[in-house]
Protein backbone atom coordinates (compact mmCIF):
# COMPACT_ATOMS: atom_id res chain seq x y z
CA UNK A 1 0.00 0.00 0.00
CA UNK A 2 2.64 2.46 0.98
CA UNK A 3 4.77 1.12 -1.83
CA UNK A 4 2.01 1.82 -4.31
CA UNK A 5 1.58 5.28 -2.92
CA UNK A 6 5.22 6.14 -3.35
CA UNK A 7 5.06 5.01 -6.96
CA UNK A 8 1.98 7.05 -7.70
CA UNK A 9 3.66 10.21 -6.63
CA UNK A 10 5.99 9.97 -9.60
CA UNK A 11 4.20 10.22 -12.96
CA UNK A 12 0.75 11.64 -13.16
CA UNK A 13 0.52 12.50 -16.87
CA UNK A 14 1.04 9.50 -19.03
CA UNK A 15 -0.90 9.85 -22.30
CA UNK A 16 -2.21 6.75 -23.98
CA UNK A 17 -4.39 8.42 -26.61
CA UNK A 18 -4.19 11.65 -28.50
CA UNK A 19 -6.77 14.32 -27.86
CA UNK A 20 -7.40 17.32 -30.12
CA UNK A 21 -9.63 20.36 -30.39
CA UNK A 22 -12.23 18.12 -31.96
CA UNK A 23 -12.28 15.47 -29.28
CA UNK A 24 -15.57 16.32 -27.64
CA UNK A 25 -16.16 12.90 -26.13
CA UNK A 26 -14.89 12.95 -22.52
CA UNK A 27 -14.49 9.18 -22.53
CA UNK A 28 -11.58 9.51 -24.95
CA UNK A 29 -9.84 11.98 -22.65
CA UNK A 30 -10.67 9.57 -19.87
CA UNK A 31 -8.10 7.10 -21.15
CA UNK A 32 -5.40 9.62 -20.32
CA UNK A 33 -6.88 11.06 -17.17
CA UNK A 34 -9.08 8.36 -15.72
CA UNK A 35 -9.38 9.93 -12.29
CA UNK A 36 -10.77 13.21 -13.55
CA UNK A 37 -13.05 11.33 -15.92
CA UNK A 38 -14.34 9.18 -13.08
CA UNK A 39 -15.28 12.32 -11.21
CA UNK A 40 -16.84 13.86 -14.29
CA UNK A 41 -19.04 10.82 -14.76
CA UNK A 42 -20.39 11.17 -11.24
CA UNK A 43 -22.24 14.30 -12.31
CA UNK A 44 -25.09 12.06 -13.47
CA UNK A 45 -25.78 11.24 -9.86
CA UNK A 46 -28.78 12.59 -8.07
CA UNK A 47 -27.96 14.69 -5.05
CA UNK A 48 -29.59 17.54 -3.29
CA UNK A 49 -29.30 19.83 -0.27
CA UNK A 50 -31.64 22.23 1.53
CA UNK A 51 -31.46 24.73 -1.28
CA UNK A 52 -29.24 23.03 -3.82
CA UNK A 53 -30.53 21.30 -6.92
CA UNK A 54 -29.71 17.82 -8.04
CA UNK A 55 -32.63 15.41 -7.79
CA UNK A 56 -33.05 12.64 -10.30
CA UNK A 57 -36.31 14.25 -11.39
CA UNK A 58 -35.75 17.91 -10.73
CA UNK A 59 -38.86 19.54 -9.32
CA UNK A 60 -40.65 22.49 -10.87
CA UNK A 61 -39.38 25.48 -8.91
CA UNK A 62 -42.92 26.82 -8.66
CA UNK A 63 -43.88 23.89 -6.47
CA UNK A 64 -41.92 25.36 -3.60
CA UNK A 65 -42.25 28.97 -4.70
CA UNK A 66 -45.69 29.42 -6.29
CA UNK A 67 -45.24 33.14 -6.77
CA UNK A 68 -42.79 32.36 -9.57
CA UNK A 69 -45.74 31.51 -11.82
CA UNK A 70 -47.12 35.00 -11.42
CA UNK A 71 -43.74 36.64 -11.78
CA UNK A 72 -43.17 34.87 -15.08
CA UNK A 73 -46.70 35.31 -16.43
CA UNK A 74 -46.60 35.33 -20.19
CA UNK A 75 -43.07 33.94 -20.48
CA UNK A 76 -41.68 30.50 -21.24
CA UNK A 77 -40.39 30.20 -17.66
CA UNK A 78 -43.98 30.03 -16.46
CA UNK A 79 -44.44 26.80 -18.41
CA UNK A 80 -41.48 24.79 -17.16
CA UNK A 81 -38.66 25.89 -14.84
CA UNK A 82 -36.95 23.26 -12.79
CA UNK A 83 -34.14 22.80 -10.33
CA UNK A 84 -30.78 22.38 -11.97
CA UNK A 85 -28.81 19.18 -11.66
CA UNK A 86 -25.43 17.73 -12.64
CA UNK A 87 -23.43 18.61 -15.75
CA UNK A 88 -24.01 15.26 -17.39
CA UNK A 89 -27.67 16.15 -17.84
CA UNK A 90 -27.36 19.58 -19.34
CA UNK A 91 -28.00 18.72 -22.96
CA UNK A 92 -30.78 16.29 -22.26
CA UNK A 93 -32.54 18.68 -19.88
CA UNK A 94 -32.47 21.41 -22.46
CA UNK A 95 -33.82 19.18 -25.20
CA UNK A 96 -36.65 18.06 -22.94
CA UNK A 97 -37.76 21.31 -21.34
CA UNK A 98 -41.15 22.49 -22.48
CA UNK A 99 -39.53 25.90 -22.92
CA UNK A 100 -37.86 24.27 -25.96
CA UNK A 101 -40.44 21.71 -27.00
CA UNK A 102 -43.36 24.14 -26.88
CA UNK A 103 -41.72 27.45 -27.77
CA UNK A 104 -39.43 28.21 -30.68
CA UNK A 105 -35.91 28.73 -29.40
CA UNK A 106 -32.73 29.71 -31.21
CA UNK A 107 -29.48 27.79 -31.59
CA UNK A 108 -28.10 30.33 -29.10
CA UNK A 109 -29.39 28.11 -26.32
CA UNK A 110 -26.75 25.51 -27.11
CA UNK A 111 -23.88 27.87 -26.28
CA UNK A 112 -23.86 26.67 -22.68
CA UNK A 113 -25.44 23.28 -22.88
CA UNK A 114 -23.18 21.41 -25.25
CA UNK A 115 -19.58 20.84 -26.24
CA UNK A 116 -20.15 23.08 -29.19
CA UNK A 117 -16.92 24.71 -30.36
CA UNK A 118 -16.24 22.20 -33.15
CA UNK A 119 -19.71 22.98 -34.49
CA UNK A 120 -18.97 26.70 -34.45
CA UNK A 121 -15.66 26.09 -36.20
CA UNK A 122 -17.30 23.94 -38.82
CA UNK A 123 -20.11 26.36 -39.57
CA UNK A 124 -17.72 29.34 -39.56
CA UNK A 125 -15.33 27.45 -41.85
CA UNK A 126 -12.56 27.76 -39.30
CA UNK A 127 -13.74 31.04 -37.83
CA UNK A 128 -15.24 30.16 -34.44
CA UNK A 129 -16.65 33.64 -33.85
CA UNK A 130 -18.43 33.67 -37.19
CA UNK A 131 -19.77 30.15 -36.68
CA UNK A 132 -20.95 31.11 -33.21
CA UNK A 133 -22.99 33.98 -34.58
CA UNK A 134 -24.52 31.83 -37.27
CA UNK A 135 -25.42 28.96 -35.01
CA UNK A 136 -27.02 31.37 -32.53
CA UNK A 137 -29.29 32.65 -35.29
CA UNK A 138 -30.47 29.19 -36.39
CA UNK A 139 -33.59 27.59 -34.99
CA UNK A 140 -32.71 25.36 -32.04
CA UNK A 141 -33.54 22.07 -33.73
CA UNK A 142 -31.63 22.92 -36.87
CA UNK A 143 -28.56 23.87 -34.90
CA UNK A 144 -28.77 20.78 -32.77
CA UNK A 145 -28.86 18.52 -35.82
CA UNK A 146 -25.84 20.00 -37.60
CA UNK A 147 -23.57 17.38 -39.14
CA UNK A 148 -20.03 17.59 -40.40
CA UNK A 149 -18.78 16.66 -43.88
CA UNK A 150 -18.91 13.00 -43.02
CA UNK A 151 -22.45 13.24 -41.75
CA UNK A 152 -21.49 12.88 -38.09
CA UNK A 153 -23.52 14.89 -35.60
CA UNK A 154 -21.53 17.86 -34.38
CA UNK A 155 -23.48 18.44 -31.18
CA UNK A 156 -23.87 15.39 -29.02
CA UNK A 157 -22.14 15.95 -25.70
CA UNK A 158 -22.72 18.14 -22.69
CA UNK A 159 -19.82 20.27 -21.45
CA UNK A 160 -16.64 18.22 -21.83
CA UNK A 161 -12.95 18.33 -21.16
CA UNK A 162 -12.23 20.28 -24.32
CA UNK A 163 -14.44 23.13 -23.14
CA UNK A 164 -12.16 23.96 -20.25
CA UNK A 165 -8.81 22.41 -21.18
CA UNK A 166 -6.29 22.98 -23.92
CA UNK A 167 -5.81 19.48 -25.35
CA UNK A 168 -2.11 20.06 -25.87
CA UNK A 169 -1.10 21.38 -22.49
CA UNK A 170 -4.15 20.58 -20.36
CA UNK A 171 -4.06 24.17 -19.20
CA UNK A 172 -7.35 25.82 -18.39
CA UNK A 173 -8.75 28.02 -21.12
CA UNK A 174 -11.95 29.78 -21.97
CA UNK A 175 -13.68 28.73 -25.16
CA UNK A 176 -17.12 30.36 -25.01
CA UNK A 177 -17.46 33.38 -27.32
CA UNK A 178 -20.02 34.93 -24.96
CA UNK A 179 -17.49 35.05 -22.16
CA UNK A 180 -14.56 36.11 -24.32
CA UNK A 181 -16.49 39.14 -25.52
CA UNK A 182 -18.18 39.83 -22.20
CA UNK A 183 -15.07 39.84 -20.05
CA UNK A 184 -13.35 42.05 -22.58
CA UNK A 185 -16.12 44.63 -22.34
CA UNK A 186 -15.98 44.46 -18.54
CA UNK A 187 -12.22 44.96 -18.47
CA UNK A 188 -12.53 47.84 -20.87
CA UNK A 189 -15.06 49.44 -18.54
CA UNK A 190 -12.52 48.98 -15.74
CA UNK A 191 -9.83 50.63 -17.80
CA UNK A 192 -7.98 47.69 -19.40
CA UNK A 193 -7.94 47.75 -23.18
CA UNK A 194 -7.77 44.66 -25.38
CA UNK A 195 -8.08 42.14 -22.63
CA UNK A 196 -7.57 38.59 -23.84
CA UNK A 197 -8.65 36.25 -21.11
CA UNK A 198 -6.62 33.28 -22.35
CA UNK A 199 -3.52 35.41 -22.49
CA UNK A 200 -3.94 37.74 -19.54
CA UNK A 201 -5.74 35.88 -16.77
CA UNK A 202 -3.88 34.31 -13.87
CA UNK A 203 -4.27 30.66 -13.15
CA UNK A 204 -6.32 31.36 -10.07
CA UNK A 205 -8.63 33.58 -12.10
CA UNK A 206 -9.03 30.85 -14.68
CA UNK A 207 -10.33 28.57 -11.96
CA UNK A 208 -13.39 30.81 -11.89
CA UNK A 209 -13.50 32.04 -15.46
CA UNK A 210 -14.04 28.55 -16.86
CA UNK A 211 -17.27 28.46 -14.86
CA UNK A 212 -18.12 32.05 -15.73
CA UNK A 213 -18.40 30.84 -19.30
CA UNK A 214 -21.91 29.66 -18.48
CA UNK A 215 -22.96 30.53 -14.92
CA UNK A 216 -23.84 34.09 -15.82
CA UNK A 217 -26.68 36.42 -16.71
CA UNK A 218 -27.15 36.69 -20.51
CA UNK A 219 -29.51 37.88 -23.19
CA UNK A 220 -29.88 37.24 -26.87
CA UNK A 221 -28.83 40.31 -28.76
CA UNK A 222 -30.78 41.47 -31.80
CA UNK A 223 -32.52 39.41 -34.42
CA UNK A 224 -29.59 37.11 -34.77
CA UNK A 225 -29.96 36.08 -31.14
CA UNK A 226 -26.29 36.42 -30.34
CA UNK A 227 -25.57 35.21 -26.79
CA UNK A 228 -24.35 38.32 -24.97
CA UNK A 229 -23.20 39.06 -21.42
CA UNK A 230 -24.35 42.55 -20.38
CA UNK A 231 -21.23 43.55 -18.50
CA UNK A 232 -20.00 46.75 -20.05
CA UNK A 233 -21.14 48.85 -17.07
CA UNK A 234 -19.99 46.38 -14.45
CA UNK A 235 -21.37 43.26 -12.80
CA UNK A 236 -23.64 44.64 -10.11
CA UNK A 237 -27.38 44.29 -10.38
CA UNK A 238 -27.96 47.99 -11.02
CA UNK A 239 -25.08 48.21 -13.46
CA UNK A 240 -26.56 45.43 -15.56
CA UNK A 241 -29.98 47.06 -15.27
CA UNK A 242 -28.53 50.28 -16.59
CA UNK A 243 -27.09 48.37 -19.54
CA UNK A 244 -30.54 47.07 -20.44
CA UNK A 245 -32.31 50.34 -19.72
CA UNK A 246 -29.90 52.31 -21.87
CA UNK A 247 -30.51 50.10 -24.86
CA UNK A 248 -34.23 49.83 -24.17
CA UNK A 249 -34.02 46.07 -23.92
CA UNK A 250 -36.81 43.97 -22.60
CA UNK A 251 -37.26 40.20 -22.42
CA UNK A 252 -41.03 40.17 -22.51
CA UNK A 253 -44.18 42.08 -21.71
CA UNK A 254 -45.58 40.86 -18.40
CA UNK A 255 -48.91 39.24 -19.07
CA UNK A 256 -50.72 40.64 -16.06
CA UNK A 257 -49.43 44.17 -15.91
CA UNK A 258 -48.01 44.77 -19.35
CA UNK A 259 -44.71 45.97 -17.87
CA UNK A 260 -41.64 45.50 -20.08
CA UNK A 261 -39.68 43.15 -17.84
CA UNK A 262 -36.31 41.44 -17.76
CA UNK A 263 -35.34 37.83 -17.04
CA UNK A 264 -32.30 37.18 -14.88
CA UNK A 265 -30.53 33.90 -15.45
CA UNK A 266 -28.12 32.17 -13.05
CA UNK A 267 -25.85 35.16 -12.23
CA UNK A 268 -23.50 33.04 -10.10
CA UNK A 269 -20.38 34.64 -11.51
CA UNK A 270 -21.73 38.15 -11.00
CA UNK A 271 -22.93 37.49 -7.47
CA UNK A 272 -19.76 35.67 -6.44
CA UNK A 273 -17.84 38.70 -7.61
CA UNK A 274 -19.58 40.84 -4.96
CA UNK A 275 -18.71 38.49 -2.12
CA UNK A 276 -15.89 38.17 0.33
CA UNK A 277 -14.69 34.88 -1.12
CA UNK A 278 -14.04 36.42 -4.53
CA UNK A 279 -12.29 39.33 -2.85
CA UNK A 280 -10.10 36.84 -1.05
CA UNK A 281 -9.23 35.10 -4.30
CA UNK A 282 -11.31 32.00 -3.56
CA UNK A 283 -12.37 30.56 -6.92
CA UNK A 284 -15.38 28.51 -8.00
CA UNK A 285 -13.14 25.49 -8.41
CA UNK A 286 -11.80 25.87 -4.85
CA UNK A 287 -15.26 25.05 -3.54
CA UNK A 288 -16.96 23.17 -6.35
CA UNK A 289 -13.96 21.15 -7.53
CA UNK A 290 -11.81 20.92 -4.41
CA UNK A 291 -8.60 18.97 -4.45
CA UNK A 292 -8.92 15.44 -3.34
CA UNK A 293 -6.17 13.02 -2.64
CA UNK A 294 -6.13 9.79 -4.56
CA UNK A 295 -3.22 7.86 -3.18
CA UNK A 296 -0.19 10.05 -3.54
CA UNK A 297 -1.83 12.26 -6.13
CA UNK A 298 -3.80 15.37 -5.50
CA UNK A 299 -6.40 15.94 -8.14
CA UNK A 300 -9.28 18.30 -8.70
CA UNK A 301 -12.57 16.62 -8.00
CA UNK A 302 -14.36 16.72 -11.34
CA UNK A 303 -17.64 15.81 -9.73
CA UNK A 304 -18.85 19.38 -9.87
CA UNK A 305 -21.63 19.72 -7.31
CA UNK A 306 -22.84 21.46 -4.18
CA UNK A 307 -19.88 22.00 -1.84
CA UNK A 308 -22.20 21.27 1.04
CA UNK A 309 -22.10 17.64 -0.03
CA UNK A 310 -18.36 17.72 0.35
CA UNK A 311 -17.65 20.05 3.22
CA UNK A 312 -14.46 18.47 4.43
CA UNK A 313 -12.64 19.08 1.19
CA UNK A 314 -14.55 22.09 -0.02
CA UNK A 315 -14.51 24.14 3.16
CA UNK A 316 -12.29 22.63 5.81
CA UNK A 317 -9.16 23.28 3.81
CA UNK A 318 -9.72 26.91 4.79
CA UNK A 319 -12.15 26.83 7.70
CA UNK A 320 -11.05 24.64 10.56
CA UNK A 321 -14.44 24.02 12.08
CA UNK A 322 -16.42 20.80 12.42
CA UNK A 323 -18.68 19.96 9.50
CA UNK A 324 -21.83 20.67 11.48
CA UNK A 325 -20.62 24.16 12.24
CA UNK A 326 -19.82 24.80 8.59
CA UNK A 327 -23.25 23.57 7.57
CA UNK A 328 -24.81 25.78 10.23
CA UNK A 329 -23.02 28.84 8.87
CA UNK A 330 -24.27 28.19 5.39
CA UNK A 331 -27.75 27.58 6.78
CA UNK A 332 -27.87 30.91 8.57
CA UNK A 333 -26.96 32.72 5.37
CA UNK A 334 -29.29 30.78 3.13
CA UNK A 335 -32.23 30.94 5.50
CA UNK A 336 -31.91 34.68 5.92
CA UNK A 337 -31.82 35.05 2.16
CA UNK A 338 -34.74 32.73 1.66
CA UNK A 339 -36.91 34.58 4.18
CA UNK A 340 -36.10 37.88 2.47
CA UNK A 341 -36.83 36.37 -0.93
CA UNK A 342 -40.27 35.31 0.28
CA UNK A 343 -40.80 38.77 1.69
CA UNK A 344 -39.93 40.42 -1.62
CA UNK A 345 -42.12 37.95 -3.44
CA UNK A 346 -45.09 38.85 -1.24
CA UNK A 347 -44.49 42.51 -2.00
CA UNK A 348 -44.26 41.74 -5.72
CA UNK A 349 -47.52 39.84 -5.70
CA UNK A 350 -49.25 42.67 -3.81
CA UNK A 351 -47.99 45.03 -6.47
CA UNK A 352 -49.29 42.83 -9.29
CA UNK A 353 -52.68 42.74 -7.59
CA UNK A 354 -52.73 46.49 -7.20
CA UNK A 355 -51.86 47.03 -10.85
CA UNK A 356 -54.48 44.54 -11.94
CA UNK A 357 -57.07 46.32 -9.81
CA UNK A 358 -56.11 49.65 -11.28
CA UNK A 359 -56.43 48.26 -14.79
CA UNK A 360 -59.82 46.84 -13.98
CA UNK A 361 -60.85 50.24 -12.71
CA UNK A 362 -59.85 51.69 -16.03
CA UNK A 363 -56.28 52.91 -15.60
CA UNK A 364 -54.23 52.62 -18.79
CA UNK A 365 -50.52 52.42 -19.57
CA UNK A 366 -50.21 56.16 -19.31
CA UNK A 367 -51.68 56.29 -15.83
CA UNK A 368 -49.70 53.27 -14.76
CA UNK A 369 -46.38 54.45 -16.10
CA UNK A 370 -44.78 54.91 -12.71
CA UNK A 371 -46.16 51.63 -11.40
CA UNK A 372 -44.89 49.70 -14.40
CA UNK A 373 -41.43 51.20 -14.06
CA UNK A 374 -41.37 50.03 -10.45
CA UNK A 375 -42.55 46.62 -11.55
CA UNK A 376 -39.60 46.28 -13.90
CA UNK A 377 -37.10 47.33 -11.25
CA UNK A 378 -38.55 45.18 -8.46
CA UNK A 379 -38.86 42.06 -10.54
CA UNK A 380 -35.35 42.36 -11.96
CA UNK A 381 -33.92 42.44 -8.45
CA UNK A 382 -36.01 39.68 -7.00
CA UNK A 383 -35.31 37.45 -9.99
CA UNK A 384 -31.59 38.20 -9.78
CA UNK A 385 -31.42 36.60 -6.35
CA UNK A 386 -33.97 33.89 -7.04
CA UNK A 387 -32.27 32.80 -10.26
CA UNK A 388 -28.86 32.84 -8.64
CA UNK A 389 -28.26 29.33 -7.45
CA UNK A 390 -26.54 29.69 -4.08
CA UNK A 391 -29.50 31.17 -2.14
CA UNK A 392 -27.34 34.09 -1.18
CA UNK A 393 -24.26 32.17 -0.11
CA UNK A 394 -21.97 33.60 -2.78
CA UNK A 395 -22.48 37.14 -1.42
CA UNK A 396 -24.71 37.24 1.63
CA UNK A 397 -24.98 40.93 2.32
CA UNK A 398 -25.25 41.79 -1.36
CA UNK A 399 -28.12 39.35 -1.82
CA UNK A 400 -29.91 40.91 1.15
CA UNK A 401 -29.29 44.39 -0.21
CA UNK A 402 -30.75 43.49 -3.58
CA UNK A 403 -33.83 42.00 -1.96
CA UNK A 404 -34.28 45.08 0.23
CA UNK A 405 -34.37 47.14 -2.94
CA UNK A 406 -36.79 44.69 -4.52
CA UNK A 407 -39.18 45.12 -1.58
CA UNK A 408 -38.89 48.87 -1.74
CA UNK A 409 -39.64 49.08 -5.46
CA UNK A 410 -42.45 46.55 -5.28
CA UNK A 411 -44.17 48.45 -2.48
CA UNK A 412 -43.66 51.74 -4.27
CA UNK A 413 -45.18 50.16 -7.37
CA UNK A 414 -48.14 49.09 -5.31
CA UNK A 415 -48.52 52.63 -3.99
CA UNK A 416 -48.21 54.10 -7.47
CA UNK A 417 -50.83 51.70 -8.80
CA UNK A 418 -53.24 52.56 -6.03
CA UNK A 419 -52.68 56.22 -6.70
CA UNK A 420 -53.08 55.89 -10.47
CA UNK A 421 -56.03 57.87 -11.78
CA UNK A 422 -58.87 55.55 -12.73
CA UNK A 423 -60.76 55.65 -16.01
CA UNK A 424 -58.99 58.85 -16.88
CA UNK A 425 -60.43 59.50 -20.33
CA UNK A 426 -63.79 60.24 -18.81
CA UNK A 427 -62.51 62.48 -16.04
CA UNK A 428 -63.36 66.06 -16.80
CA UNK A 429 -61.03 68.99 -16.40
CA UNK A 430 -57.82 66.98 -16.01
Amino acid sequence: NIFERKQEAKNPYLRVVDVTEDTVDPAVWGSNWPRQHDGYKQTVQASSTNFGGGDAHPAEKAEKEPWLTRMFAGYAFAIDYRDRRGHAHMLFDQEQTRRVTEKPQPGACLHCHASIIPAYRFVGKGDVMKGFEEVCAMPYQKAHELVDDKGNKLISHPVGCVDCHDPKTMELRVTRPGFLVGIKSLKEHQGTKDYDVNRDATRQEMRSFVCGQCHVEYYFKGDRKTVTYPWSNGLKVEEIEKYYDDMGFTDWKHKETGAPVLKAQHPEFEMWNQGIHARSGVSCADCHMPYKREGALKISDHWVRSPLLNKSRACQQCHHYPEEEIQARADVIQERTHALMRRSAAALVDMLDAINDARKAGAGDEQLKAALAFHRKAQWRLDFVAAENSMGFHAPQEAARILAEAVDYARQGQIAAKAAPRAPATQPGK
Partner: protein, 155 residues
Protein backbone atom coordinates in the same frame (compact mmCIF):
# COMPACT_ATOMS: atom_id res chain seq x y z
CA UNK B 1 22.37 2.74 12.23
CA UNK B 2 24.40 4.19 15.02
CA UNK B 3 24.42 2.60 18.43
CA UNK B 4 21.40 3.78 20.31
CA UNK B 5 21.73 5.46 23.62
CA UNK B 6 19.87 3.89 26.45
CA UNK B 7 17.42 6.71 26.50
CA UNK B 8 16.56 6.33 22.88
CA UNK B 9 16.28 2.61 23.31
CA UNK B 10 13.65 3.05 25.97
CA UNK B 11 11.82 5.33 23.66
CA UNK B 12 12.07 2.91 20.77
CA UNK B 13 10.46 0.26 22.85
CA UNK B 14 7.68 2.63 23.72
CA UNK B 15 7.11 3.48 20.10
CA UNK B 16 7.37 -0.07 18.95
CA UNK B 17 4.77 -1.12 21.44
CA UNK B 18 2.44 1.53 20.22
CA UNK B 19 3.17 0.92 16.60
CA UNK B 20 3.07 -2.84 16.83
CA UNK B 21 -0.60 -2.82 17.55
CA UNK B 22 -2.29 -3.67 14.28
CA UNK B 23 0.29 -2.08 12.04
CA UNK B 24 3.45 -4.08 12.17
CA UNK B 25 7.02 -3.12 11.93
CA UNK B 26 7.04 -3.08 8.15
CA UNK B 27 5.14 0.13 7.89
CA UNK B 28 7.08 1.59 10.67
CA UNK B 29 10.51 1.01 9.20
CA UNK B 30 9.62 1.41 5.57
CA UNK B 31 7.89 4.69 6.22
CA UNK B 32 10.80 5.69 8.41
CA UNK B 33 8.94 5.57 11.68
CA UNK B 34 12.35 6.15 13.19
CA UNK B 35 12.17 9.65 11.91
CA UNK B 36 10.25 10.32 15.07
CA UNK B 37 13.60 10.45 16.78
CA UNK B 38 14.87 13.15 14.58
CA UNK B 39 14.54 16.85 15.07
CA UNK B 40 15.17 17.38 11.37
CA UNK B 41 11.95 18.56 9.74
CA UNK B 42 12.83 16.54 6.65
CA UNK B 43 12.23 13.49 8.77
CA UNK B 44 8.56 14.31 8.88
CA UNK B 45 8.22 14.23 5.13
CA UNK B 46 9.20 10.67 4.98
CA UNK B 47 5.47 10.57 4.68
CA UNK B 48 4.44 12.51 1.63
CA UNK B 49 1.23 13.23 3.46
CA UNK B 50 3.21 15.75 5.48
CA UNK B 51 4.49 17.48 2.32
CA UNK B 52 2.02 20.33 2.49
CA UNK B 53 2.89 21.14 6.03
CA UNK B 54 6.56 20.91 5.26
CA UNK B 55 6.30 23.20 2.24
CA UNK B 56 4.18 25.73 4.04
CA UNK B 57 6.41 25.65 7.09
CA UNK B 58 9.28 26.55 4.82
CA UNK B 59 7.43 29.65 3.66
CA UNK B 60 6.09 30.71 7.04
CA UNK B 61 7.69 32.97 9.58
CA UNK B 62 9.19 30.36 11.85
CA UNK B 63 11.20 28.13 9.59
CA UNK B 64 14.41 29.72 10.78
CA UNK B 65 13.36 29.72 14.40
CA UNK B 66 11.57 26.45 14.95
CA UNK B 67 11.35 23.00 13.40
CA UNK B 68 8.38 20.67 13.49
CA UNK B 69 9.21 19.12 16.79
CA UNK B 70 9.81 22.47 18.45
CA UNK B 71 6.14 23.20 17.98
CA UNK B 72 4.55 19.79 17.84
CA UNK B 73 6.26 17.72 20.48
CA UNK B 74 6.60 18.35 24.19
CA UNK B 75 9.99 19.56 25.39
CA UNK B 76 10.34 17.40 28.43
CA UNK B 77 11.94 14.06 27.70
CA UNK B 78 9.43 11.59 29.00
CA UNK B 79 6.31 13.33 27.77
CA UNK B 80 8.10 13.81 24.48
CA UNK B 81 8.62 10.14 23.94
CA UNK B 82 5.14 9.27 25.02
CA UNK B 83 3.77 11.74 22.53
CA UNK B 84 6.09 10.37 19.88
CA UNK B 85 4.86 6.89 20.52
CA UNK B 86 1.26 7.92 20.45
CA UNK B 87 1.52 10.08 17.38
CA UNK B 88 3.90 7.67 15.70
CA UNK B 89 1.40 4.93 16.14
CA UNK B 90 -1.49 6.98 14.87
CA UNK B 91 0.36 8.46 11.93
CA UNK B 92 1.71 5.09 10.81
CA UNK B 93 -1.68 3.54 11.17
CA UNK B 94 -3.27 6.41 9.32
CA UNK B 95 -0.76 6.24 6.53
CA UNK B 96 -1.27 2.55 6.08
CA UNK B 97 -5.02 2.39 6.25
CA UNK B 98 -5.67 5.80 4.73
CA UNK B 99 -8.64 6.16 7.00
CA UNK B 100 -7.95 9.50 8.61
CA UNK B 101 -9.94 12.67 8.20
CA UNK B 102 -8.81 14.95 5.42
CA UNK B 103 -7.83 17.70 5.54
CA UNK B 104 -5.68 16.59 8.44
CA UNK B 105 -6.69 18.37 11.60
CA UNK B 106 -4.73 18.82 14.72
CA UNK B 107 -6.02 16.81 17.68
CA UNK B 108 -7.02 18.61 20.89
CA UNK B 109 -4.19 17.03 22.83
CA UNK B 110 -1.67 18.11 20.24
CA UNK B 111 -3.14 21.60 20.28
CA UNK B 112 -2.26 21.83 23.93
CA UNK B 113 1.27 20.69 23.24
CA UNK B 114 1.50 23.36 20.60
CA UNK B 115 0.25 26.07 22.91
CA UNK B 116 2.75 25.06 25.53
CA UNK B 117 5.52 25.29 22.98
CA UNK B 118 4.57 28.81 21.95
CA UNK B 119 4.91 29.72 25.57
CA UNK B 120 8.21 27.89 25.88
CA UNK B 121 9.73 30.40 23.50
CA UNK B 122 7.54 33.42 24.07
CA UNK B 123 6.51 33.00 27.66
CA UNK B 124 8.29 36.06 28.94
CA UNK B 125 6.73 38.37 26.44
CA UNK B 126 3.36 36.79 27.13
CA UNK B 127 3.62 37.00 30.86
CA UNK B 128 0.96 39.62 31.38
CA UNK B 129 -1.59 38.32 28.98
CA UNK B 130 -1.63 34.63 29.73
CA UNK B 131 -1.35 34.87 33.43
CA UNK B 132 -3.59 32.38 35.13
CA UNK B 133 -4.42 30.40 32.05
CA UNK B 134 -2.22 28.73 29.51
CA UNK B 135 -3.64 25.52 28.15
CA UNK B 136 -6.87 25.08 30.01
CA UNK B 137 -10.05 25.15 27.97
CA UNK B 138 -10.91 28.66 28.91
CA UNK B 139 -7.57 30.07 27.86
CA UNK B 140 -6.98 32.38 24.98
CA UNK B 141 -4.97 30.27 22.60
CA UNK B 142 -2.17 31.75 20.56
CA UNK B 143 -3.44 30.27 17.31
CA UNK B 144 -6.72 32.13 17.75
CA UNK B 145 -4.80 35.10 16.35
CA UNK B 146 -1.57 33.60 15.07
CA UNK B 147 -2.88 30.63 13.10
CA UNK B 148 -0.40 31.37 10.35
CA UNK B 149 2.89 31.28 12.21
CA UNK B 150 3.60 27.63 11.49
CA UNK B 151 2.27 27.18 8.00
CA UNK B 152 1.30 30.54 6.62
CA UNK B 153 -2.25 31.74 6.14
CA UNK B 154 -4.80 28.99 5.63
CA UNK B 155 -7.44 31.25 4.23
Amino acid sequence: MRVLSARKLVALVAIALGTGLGVGLFTFTYARGLSYFSTDPRACINCHIMNDEYDSWGKASHHAAAGCVDCHLPRDTIPKYIAKAENGYRHSRGFTFQDFHEPIQIKPKNSRILQNNCLKCHGDLMHDIVEGSTTDVTSVTCVHCHASVGHGPTR
